[in-house]
Chain length 370, copies 2
């Protein structure tokens, strides 16, 4: 097995280290910055440094493009041109829709590991960076099932939890739960800074409280990464902005609507209910990260018979991903005449298995426990 990594920083380097833990995997690397490539070589993250994308990709089974979002489309398209017909090309960018539209190819599967945002550079790379991390994959109807399976199994061997999601849904979820919180943090800092100047005659800034500190922790995150995230996910961000403007104006009305004592009392109740609801909703949202996990329960195997055609594996992965069922591992076995195949899935817990079985049946495929 040969893996090519295009861009050997923190994520690319960690992919190399994770892949090399498994015996027999060769890792070639390319980086536009020769020094970065040499550091990755010295660090043992790659076995060979190549001078071009084409050379790195030659004979590769799996290619990872691990560059800032703004460069990804160029790199991925060049990699697809150079890669063989049986090579899967993926990337690790934080937005997925624009690239998915540009790189429409059965060999391309967008990816996004939720790991490693705080530091940069191959010096911080670790073989276990992805242990336990969700790794979003964005297959489409055109995606090769065989290549999806290969990528999925490789990510599982890294210790990651591959989760299929449509590219557009990925970008909207990320906008709401990551990108827009970054925007708000920046704007809150901007507002606090302006207010401090306005109110304290420039001599003394007020001591910012812990709520302000927490709310702005991610303000001004790494510009090289976040500038591109804001640009590439602008449409989903605009939805979040519009939603927040509407909510701010709704709360403003609630605050202002105070004519008459009775009305004030009723507003106080509405404000209290609004605040209580926020506490409950936050609990539900943050608890949700654990909803798919049922550690300690046994792993079961499901086997589904499927036609050997593009999109089938993507359909199954998307259905299970959408229902919160984690695929611990998967395997494809074609029938002798190649017209049919069996997809084997390993899942944890009876609930997950039952849910998956139902979803696969709903897709029209015979399925049973092994």
């Amino acid at each position: 097995v040969k893996i090519a990594i295009l861009g050997v920083g923190l994520i690319g380097g960690s992919i190399g280290l994770a892949a090399k833990r498994d015996a027999g995997v060769r890792v070639s690397g390319y980086d536009p910055d020769p020094e970065a490539g040499e550091r990755a070589l010295a660090r043992g993250a790659i076995d060979a440094r190549e001078e071009t994308i084409a050379e790195a990709v030659k004979d590769a089974d799996v290619v990872f493009a691990a560059a800032p979002i703004g460069w990804l489309s160029t790199i991925v398209i060049e990699a697809l041109d150079a890669a063989g017909p049986d090579c899967v090309v993926s990337d690790v960018g934080s937005t997925k829709l624009v690239l998915a539209q540009l790189a429409s190819d059965e060999r391309f599967i967008g990816g996004h590991p939720l790991a490693g945002a705080e530091t940069a550079g191959v010096a911080h790379a670790r073989a276990d960076l992805f242990a336990g991390a969700t790794w979003y994959l964005t297959p489409t109807q055109g995606t090769s099932g065989v290549l999806y399976e290969r990528l999925h199994r490789l990510l599982v061997s890294f210790g990651a939890q591959p989760t299929a999601v449509a590219a557009q849904l990925h970008d909207r979820l990320m906008a709401c739960f990551s990108h827009f919180p970054h925007v708000l943090a920046n704007l809150l800092v901007e507002q606090g800074s302006a207010r401090a100047q306005e109110l304290s005659s420039g001599e003394r800034l007020p001591a910012a409280g812990p709520s302000f500190r927490d709310a702005t922790r991610v303000a001004g995150a790494n510009t090289a990464i976040w500038r591109d995230i804001y640009i590439f996910n602008r449409l989903a961000l605009i939805d979040e902005i519009d939603g927040m403007v509407e909510r701010l104006e709704g709360f403003r009305e609630l605050l202002l609507d105070d004519d008459g004592d009775a009305q004030v009392a009723s507003d106080a109740e509405r404000i209290a209910a609004w605040n209580d609801r926020a506490r409950q909703q936050r609990g539900a949202l943050l608890g949700a990260g654990l909803a798919g996990e049922t550690g300690g329960e046994p792993v079961h195997e499901l086997r589904a018979s499927v036609p050997n055609q593009p999109g089938v594996v993507a359909d199954i992965a998307l259905a299970l991903g959408g229902a919160g069922v984690n695929i611990l591992d998967m395997a494809l076995s074609p029938s002798p005449d190649n017209s049919q195949g069996v997809v084997a899935l390993w899942l944890r817990g009876d609930t997950a298995v039952g849910r998956a079985q139902q979803l696969i049946q709903d897709l029209g495929f015979p399925v049973a426990r092994a």
Copy 2:
């Protein structure tokens, strides 16, 4: 010395414990809930539990009203009615302007210690709750200098750092750096919750990232406290809401303004600059909490001659507070004929002393190092 505490929960109880560390201080307590009063007595936070505000306040030198904001004005006005002419009445509410307007009396000085938001009840009270904490005081032109000095010295004995600020300015600063971040956290949760339902067909909530978790840490804070904060600081909050709506719409325009490649490049630069600026501004804002502190430097005494009339001490305290000069301790000495007086101030560090000297001179008072 006798101190009366009206409302013996976490803050009231901690005031009692801190005051009782000093020998010779008697502490009487009143609470509308007799059981809370008994607990405070058992805890040693008060020496006597009284059945009415008037009884608790009788013969007191200092009164602290430590109740939820919605009850404070009733309690403070009743305390002022019952208290003697030489008794200072203060409170510990998180908003100051409404109460300051209602309780216009030379004996009333609004207060707000920045401590103890996470827990409630006298069970959590501690003598050192205020150690090192900023304790905002909101004197006015009508405030008695003698009573301000007494309150200031008492708070210093608690280990707190009294800082004078005008009530309106206090509320605007709190709105920006504490209350509005709470509103935003609630609204972000509300939006995330709605989006999760919309996008995940109700079966699986997406794993909320660490940026969302941090940005919403204070969502749904204690409703009994925060409902009143939102209501009593509504005008300042509306300014913050309007400011944020404008900033969100400004950023929206920046994201959308993408006709032509050259323009995109220039937007990317503007987005990058915006993000870099947020990082710098946050550093400046959070560093500011330390700006007034110059630990290790020697303490100096400044002595100012002032006319013995209301508002003078407030003027000095406000001028120094506004410039970030912390008054470590202060003392008033009236002249024999009571027409003049000397204000002694203890300050840390040459820079602070020089700054204070200049500010007091600017107010028209002769001042010198002792």
